[in-house]
């Protein structure tokens, strides 16, 4: 799967969790403008199914922005 497709799908999943339209790749995933740590686990569950990969919560340590998450998925898929 190419990078562009991964970004599109990650943003779609994130929109379902965050329920907002103004999200982009530079957005910080967690925190005030992002999602809670519990929602992050739920997001991972959806992404694992979508991309057929296993993302350990430990991998999330590298993730600050949505773009970092896309990098991680690209690396794993």
């Amino acid at each position: 799967m190419d990078r562009e497709m991964i970004e599109k799908l990650v943003l779609e999943h994130l929109k379902n969790v965050i329920d907002r339209d103004d999200i982009d790749l530079e957005m910080e995933l967690l925190g005030e403008d992002g999602i809670s740590s519990i929602e992050a686990m739920d997001l991972l569950s959806g992404l694992e199914k979508e991309f057929n990969i296993r993302i350990s919560p430990r991998n999330l340590r590298r993730v600050v922005t949505v773009e970092d998450l896309c990098d991680l998925i690209l690396e794993m898929s």
Partner: protein, 482 residues
């Protein structure tokens, strides 16, 4: 249902003999493995525990510490009890969510074995150099052979010793009443069930290093219930397979369930109870579930009390209270307002900690929580003695650890960490307030810290302040101003 009084004076081995006899073919655990649903009866589960105990005993692990780490798997529960059966100490942990310094903590414990998931294999390289470790094993590969003569794995066959009720059986990490992380040592007696624990078809989503997960699994086993094994990541999806009656989660997870149910993704019709642990219940979520006929109590307790101390009387709940004091423990308020607890579920102490004693001479646990008890036996919390921040995801954060770390940045004059719902914020006074370059330096430093920190410990927002922090008469910053 095995009651609190029926289980008096039993060690874990004796308790399991009783459990097997009481519930035999009933399902004890159910979980998903890929597209398959796996079911294990009480008979099979106790058999598995005794078989694992037999092997642990052969390795001479009795009285020693065994680290168990995984992601809510059946085998973790199995080995936790197996260790307790032979008088070893199960240290329940997880490599995912802890600080980097956590590995040093594990070294301090001088474990004889580590049992963990395959995916944590790389982390074990560090431990393999430790001279005291006799055996490092991975789940599913732990035992290559079962004993030739299975008859040795019977009710008493392989154990020719009686394990004392005060012998350590379990260790869990806690932020402690003073806010410094410690290993809580829980003896054999803490597995005695509480009659008020909700039991039935219960889905576990909390991690197994969380005391509430162990407390609810243990009491559900003693009451003959069926436990569905799941985790936070797959919890909502698994609810669609299992249709549980009971789920216990941290408040932010209950909010997620509320959101999913509102969006039509989660069907709540099977639920009888959605309970909250780890932090005060979210009133909006509680109302949401109760409006749908689902009870939504919150439970007050600590790692040091092996779970909850109070329960919610659904007929007579009191707003603002954390519930009615359970008859399995005594609770009183000290002269200076601190909540003190005594009973069979109280820890025996902190590992290696001789300086700070959280227990009084006559066995009362000093909780660090301030509160009062009303005339009907309901407990109310009014604050904490220490500075621990309790986030809505149940994480207990000691702000001083983070403040110390960020203070190493030369641009930071003063810093205070506080909590906002589910995340941490930093209030900072720079050495040159108003200088944008200095602020940028601080932001960069915090971004670097965040990259290394586990998720709940990350700083998600920074407030730069130019006026001094308010201080008390001793010159200490008043934390309640944030």
């Amino acid at each position: 249902m095995l009651t609190y009084s029926e289980c008096a004076g039993l060690n874990v081995h004796e308790l399991f003999i009783k459990i097997r006899k009481a519930y035999g073919d009933r399902p004890a655990f159910i979980w998903r493995s890929g597209d398959q649903i796996i079911r294990v009866s009480y008979e099979e589960f106790v058999g598995d525990v005794f078989e694992a105990a037999y092997h642990l005993d052969k390795k001479d692990f009795s009285g020693k510490r065994v680290i168990i780490s995984g992601r809510n798997r059946y085998e973790e529960i199995l080995y936790m009890y197996a260790a307790a059966v032979i008088g070893a100490v199960a240290v329940m942990t997880n490599f995912d969510m802890q600080l980097k310094a956590f590995q040093e903590e594990l070294h301090r414990l001088e474990p004889v074995a580590i049992i963990c998931d395959d995916e944590d294999r790389e982390l074990l390289l560090d431990f393999e150099q430790m001279p005291d470790i006799q055996h490092i094993s991975l789940m599913n590969q732990v035992w290559t052979a079962i004993p030739d003569d299975l008859s040795v794995i019977n009710d008493r066959g392989f154990l020719d010793k009686t394990i004392d009720l005060e012998a350590p059986a379990l260790m869990l990490m806690s932020s402690g009443s003073s806010g410094h992380s410690k290993w809580v040592v829980l003896p054999q007696r803490v597995f005695r069930p509480r009659d008020k624990t909700p039991s039935g078809c219960e889905q576990i989503i909390l991690p197994l290093y969380h005391v509430a997960a162990i407390c609810f699994i243990n009491d559900n086993l003693c009451h003959g219930g069926c436990t569905y094994l799941s985790d936070i990541q797959s919890g909502i999806r698994d609810m669609g397979y299992f249709h549980p009656q009971i789920v216990i989660g941290v408040p932010s997870y209950l909010r997620l369930m509320m959101k999913k149910a509102s969006a039509g993704i989660l069907d709540l019709s099977c639920f009888e109870m959605v309970g909250s642990v780890g932090a005060p219940q979210d009133p909006e979520a509680a109302r949401f579930f109760e409006h749908r006929g689902i009870s939504s109590p919150s439970f007050y307790g600590m790692t040091e009390t092996m779970g909850f101390v109070t329960y919610e009387d659904t007929e007579f709940a009191k707003p603002g209270s954390v519930g009615k004091i359970g008859d399995w423990n005594e609770v009183r308020i000290s002269d200076y307002g601190e909540i003190l607890i005594r009973g069979d579920h109280i820890m025996s102490g902190y590992y290696g900690d001789e300086v700070e004693n959280a227990l009084t001479e006559d066995g009362w646990l000093k909780t660090g929580d301030l509160g009062y008890i009303d005339e009907d036996g309901y407990l109310f919390l009014t604050g904490r003695i220490g500075n621990v921040i309790i986030l809505s995801n149940g994480e207990n954060i000691n702000p001083e650890i983070i403040e110390h770390e960020i203070s190493k940045c030369k641009a930071v004059e003063e810093i205070v960490i506080s909590g906002e719902n589910d995340f941490l914020v930093a209030h900072i006074i720079c050495r040159q307030p108003g200088d944008s370059e200095i602020k940028a330096e601080v932001k960069k430093y915090i971004a670097r810290y965040n990259k290394e920190a586990a998720l709940p410990w990350r700083i998600q927002k920074i407030y730069f302040q130019e006026i001094p922090f308010e201080r008390n008469e001793l010159g200490k910053i008043k934390r309640n101003q944030f």
